[in-house]
Chain length 299, copies 2
């Protein structure tokens, strides 16, 4: 069975095209790696590159991308709406096929050690790869952002990096970790009252008492109230359960869902499981899907 | 782009294992053909073999399966609950990838001609491949079954075959045709009152005023009322719309759906479209499915 890990690094550059291209090139040059997606947001001044490959190839490509970003991005000059601590801000490994979460955690530790040693960049292990429990949460690592971290990294023991020097250069610091596949899922309501979206977001998200693997915000997008979410573990908190909870909460305000959207990529299983749930398909096996018989997974 | 046609012949033998195996072997021996599934029903005394391949390979394999069945099955001795007219009872071609319905129709005509000429078996073209409009419907071709057909084939012009002699041997006749992928879909209700299932079946099926591509029966299965269906064109009458109509009709009788099941194989699209419908995923593209980026369809 082929072993495939996904890596979805975020870089603090969403405007200078040539910088984003050079980082993507550094990734694509590694044999055995396939770049699936590049998304840049000029407002956030931030780019997300999605690539996959064998564990070894993905680690090498991630290393080169961090190195390239650290050479081309000066955090002292970076401005953008999204919280960030470094040029290569966050580098997560995601198990896709033939690998476990433990494999991804091991890879994160290995890469973190190398980045700290060879590039002199402070590294914080986060998510499933966190050694200090409070660092599981990216927001905790990012508090004060690049500017705040610069002032406290040398003196505050809470901010001592897991690898690399306790000293911040112009490339800032990098959070390296492991996590399940993430789904960016937005739901639109038939109202322009953003307060309704905010109340729904508060009801469904983990941080304020809701579902364990949901992060949510209420926003106004193109004149419509939107519940904007990250589903951080679709196997444990499935997309259909989130959707049903939003519908129920919305009806409480006399409001209905008009549509939804998935931003970027989604694991096929997340959609198939929604079909199985809504169709009440007991005892269904993925083996019954015609295409899986025609094109069995690579050996 | 690879050209793939599916063929799902039904044979009038569901008890003698060695007969079913020899027919399956005759199919599998053809290069470029892949047998996906074999299902035998002893009560119906009937087997369904699903296989795929290039148009040329599939036609050759279908021919050999009809020939083998005609040598091993004696319709004068066949008993079973399911209506049937021949040893190789019905042979449909289904477009899967890189082929059109017209390709499948042409293949059905070509195979029908050959079976009539080389094997001396009467052939009726049915489904999308029918030349006589009333023969689109298998039930029309099968009326009176093997025994009734035997008495009338020579004298009743309505029963003159499209190919082959107007005379029935022990192998009976064969219906050869083309159709879209078919989904065998059953829905269970929380009642043992089969009348409710029958009323729902009448409400939703095409023949009594319901949805265009639905065939349905109300049955009692393991003590539970079941709506048993064939969805004959899931693109035009999608599975989720059928499910919602059943739920609505069931609620009319104070009854609810407890579960559903798909028998055999289902095209992936039918499930993905259900997920998109229930999640209200406007603007979703199949390209957003991670696995499709990893393993793009064969060229």
């Amino acid at each position: 069975m082929e072993r495939i890990i996904e890596c979805v690094p975020n870089f603090s550059e969403g405007r200078r095209k040539e910088v984003i291209e050079r980082i993507a090139q550094a990734i694509a040059e590694v044999k055995g790696v396939q770049v699936l997606d590049i998304e840049s947001d000029p407002d956030h001044n931030r780019s997300v590159i999605t690539f996959v490959g064998s564990p070894e190839a993905v680690e090498e490509a991630a290393f080169r991308s961090i190195k390239t970003a650290s050479q081309l991005i000066d955090m002292d000059k970076h401005r953008g709406e999204h919280p960030r601590i470094g040029a290569a801000d966050v580098v997560p490994f995601v198990p896709i096929r033939g690998v476990t979460m433990e494999d991804c955690i091991a890879l994160a530790h290995q890469l973190g050690e190398r980045v700290g040693r060879e590039l002199g960049i402070p590294v914080y292990l986060y998510g499933e790869a966190a050694i200090k429990p409070e660092r599981r949460d990216l927001a905790y690592i990012r508090r004060g952002e690049y500017e705040g971290l610069k002032e406290t990294i040398a003196t505050d023991p809470d901010r001592t990096p897991d690898f690399g020097p306790a000293k911040l250069g112009k490339a800032g610091a990098t959070a390296i970790g492991a996590r399940p596949p993430l789904i960016a899922f937005n739901v639109y309501l038939n109202t322009d009252d953003v307060e309704v979206a905010k109340k729904i977001a508060r009801a469904i998200r983990h941080s304020s008492g809701g579902l364990r693997y949901v992060k949510a915000l209420g926003l106004l997008v193109k004149g419509r109230a939107q519940v904007s979410m990250n589903l951080t573990d679709y196997r444990k908190t499935p997309i259909y359960r989130v959707m049903e909870m939003i519908r129920r909460e919305a009806s409480r305000y006399g409001v209905a869902v008009t549509s939804s959207e998935i931003i970027g990529l989604v694991p096929e299983e997340a959609l198939l499981d929604a079909a199985i749930y809504y169709l009440q398909l007991d005892g269904f096996s993925y083996d019954q899907i015609l295409e899986r018989r025609l094109f069995p997974p690579l050996p």
